[in-house]
């Protein structure tokens, strides 16, 4: 249940931006979250409701860009969509793979007013 920590980190980032821009609140927030970022969607939704209360994000629209993980095999260079961390390369069946994308956990943009 580290998702609440993540939500509270997002609140901190948002508070900082609101302050820097002399704004009052966040209207819209866009998040990039990879499928291998270690975040459970349901847990994030649950934590969001509790975590943004009384913050600049309380009434913000949240947009989550879910990024599908892709990996590259370090043996044969084959690139593929990966759904489990222990998935072997479908071409040569080696487990030595590196992620190209899917570990993202970032605030892409904010609209403040």
């Amino acid at each position: 249940m580290h998702e609440l920590s993540i939500v509270l980190s997002i609140v901190d980032l948002a508070e900082e931006q609101v302050r820097k821009n002399n704004a009052q609140r966040v209207e819209n927030i866009e998040l990039d979250i990879g499928s291998m970022a270690g975040v459970e969607w349901d847990a994030l939704d649950f934590a969001w409701t509790a975590g943004v209360k009384n913050s600049v994000l309380e009434n913000a629209q949240r947009q989550v860009n879910r990024i599908t993980a892709r990996a590259r095999c370090l043996q044969c260079q084959h690139e593929f969509e990966i759904t489990q961390p222990f998935e072997p390369c479908p071409a040569c069946h080696d487990y030595l793979v590196e992620y190209i994308q899917g570990k993202e956990l970032r605030v892409k943009s904010l609209t403040v007013s």
Binding site: M1, H2, E3, L4, S5, I6, L8, S9, I10, V11, D12, L13, E15, Q17, V18, R19, N21, N22, A23, Q24, E27, L31, G38, A47, A50, G51, K53, N54, S55, V56, Q84, P85, F86, P88, Y95, L96, L105, R106, V107, K108, S109, L110, T111, V112, S113
Partner: protein, 270 residues
Amino acid sequence: MCSTCGCSQPGGVTITRAGESLSGFTPLNEIKLSPLVQHHHPGDAHTSRVIELEQDILSQNNQQASHNRDHFRQQHIVAFNLVSSPGSGKTSLLERTLIDLQSQYKFYVIEGDQQTMNDANRIARTGVEAVQVNTGKGCHLDAAMIHRALHELNPQDDAILFIENVGNLVCPALFDLGEHSRIAIISVTEGDDKPLKYPDMFASSQLCIINKIDLLPYVNFNVERAKEYARRVNPQLEFIDLSATTGQGMDSWYQWLQRQMATREPELVH
């Protein structure tokens, strides 16, 4: 809920040094969780503005971890983050290690648990200084807690610091504490498919200790299968099989520790 939200108040996160008396501890330090502050400026007229932030959500923790790492580097301290399920034998492994190696190295221990001083008190009995971080309802340690605990410990230079994380194979994987290495511990009384069930922890560790091997004759745990599963998740992972109870395999662990001390970053070596 989780550690940084403050919803577990009035308990919250506490950091307490293990002392001479083994009961009735009063927390010396309490982390005051900053409230979520709203910055209203009534009367200010604002139009909407889009900010392309592109900032990592865990950047605050990562910055704090990097700060901890600077502390360690300056003081020539090597820190290990021990992660596992509850009951894998982390504290027993530490107790035996500290008793066996205290004459060779200066040790410090930061213990993370939701509640109780039990583990820090166990460590204190070995003569090693320990602080207990009680996370309240929190499920992991974060870099800020380690920073506070470090100031409480005030460690000497050239030491080994063991951080025993909250027993949880999920959440601690995401939080860099500034450690030199992360060590995942599983015991043979667990399922040998743990590395597949909780891959993030094994993927982010450098060493996997398989504990309680004295119990192998009585349990259905296939050591080679567990290693094969863990290597699928992390092909570079090293393994040590041992029993902190009987002492079997502890030599390999001590040699690994020695190698870590010998191969620290160049600026760490005198």
